[in-house]
Symmetry: C2
């Protein structure tokens, strides 16, 4: 659904009013049937013989993805990856505002990055409450990850995007999404290796 929304953004920018599943298929690479099925799952957004209204579908998808409202996000771990995410405009465009940044390294605490002052992790619970943060992005070292997650859960956060290469244990009701950058590269090296053999 994210991909569809992004594609619709491009289409809207180029002035298209209406779009068919066939056209979406061309651009996104999914099959047309797949796209129709996906969309029909959430409601009847299209008109037969016509297609989908670009603007209408954008609004629907925004609501489905929950990006029709602004989300406050905490970022924990201001290493290289953390800094990159802080500066990354894609989140803002999608309605995610990184409202606070935390790190345990005394040398980083107090410094300003992309307009945010880095705070110590001990302030986490307090700031989460103050700023109404519901979502966290973890870019901590693997060793610290579980401990940080426990703090996050304790402060009431219920959705976490984890970049640390470690599977985390969280109580029921806390949603964790893991991103492992090396997995993707390994997939490529796997297919290159396979190709070599055949």
């Amino acid at each position: 659904m994210s991909t569809y929304l992004r594609t619709l953004g491009l289409e809207a920018a180029s002035g298209t009013q209406s779009i068919s599943s066939a056209r979406l298929s061309e651009v996104t690479g999914f099959t047309a049937a797949q796209i129709r099925r996906d969309l029909a799952n959430f409601g009847h957004f299209g008109r037969r013989g016509v297609g989908y209204s670009v603007e209408g579908l954008r609004l629907e998808l925004r609501a489905i993805l929950g990006v029709d409202i602004e989300w406050s996000v905490a970022l924990i771990g201001v290493g290289n990856l953390g800094k990159a995410l802080l500066a990354y405009k894609g989140f803002n465009q999608m309605g995610f505002t990184i409202a606070a940044a935390f790190d345990n390294d005394q040398r980083k605490v107090g410094s300003t990055l992309s307009g945010l002052t880095v705070e110590p992790i001990s302030k986490l619970a307090e700031r989460v409450r103050e700023l109404g943060i519901q979502l966290a992005i973890m870019t901590t070292p693997a060793e610290a990850a579980q401990e940080v997650l426990d703090s996050l859960v304790a402060s009431g956060i219920r959705a976490v995007l984890n970049f640390a290469p470690r599977r985390l244990r969280a109580p029921e009701g806390v949603q964790i999404s893991n991103v492992d950058l090396t997995i993707e590269v390994e997939y490529l090296s796997h297919s290159l290796s396979q190709r070599r053999l055949s």
Copy 2:
């Protein structure tokens, strides 16, 4: 398979000789049956009644994933994300060496980052040949992505990891893996939204 390999690394570090699918299941979160199926797909690595040899399985998985040899990688686009990836040690640990970094921004060309001098994209084909690069990571802006990919393909690269939020068109035989950081966050905001409704 990547996850299994990473888990085995941890187990090896803590001195375990042999590991069962049940134990792997605990740590990785996949079901034991799933793990056995996955592994059996590539060969008979385990011993009944005993389990898998941690070291033996690591070697097998390394070979399967193609990380039993060193890969030379080119990085194109030295923005924040590019810098983060350059400094990211996970790639090195897995046998990926970023051998060259490229950018089209004149202000960046010539600067040194993580021990690499940034080169202009015009040098791409030449350097790919010289360094035997087979794999590229693209962290360019979306607008430049397709053009850069075409250059990469022309210079003989056949596997690309793309962080630019745009679906790329590549000829048959060129493997492209897309990473879109916002998709993961949107998935979380989607499930938070759903939860609110119920």
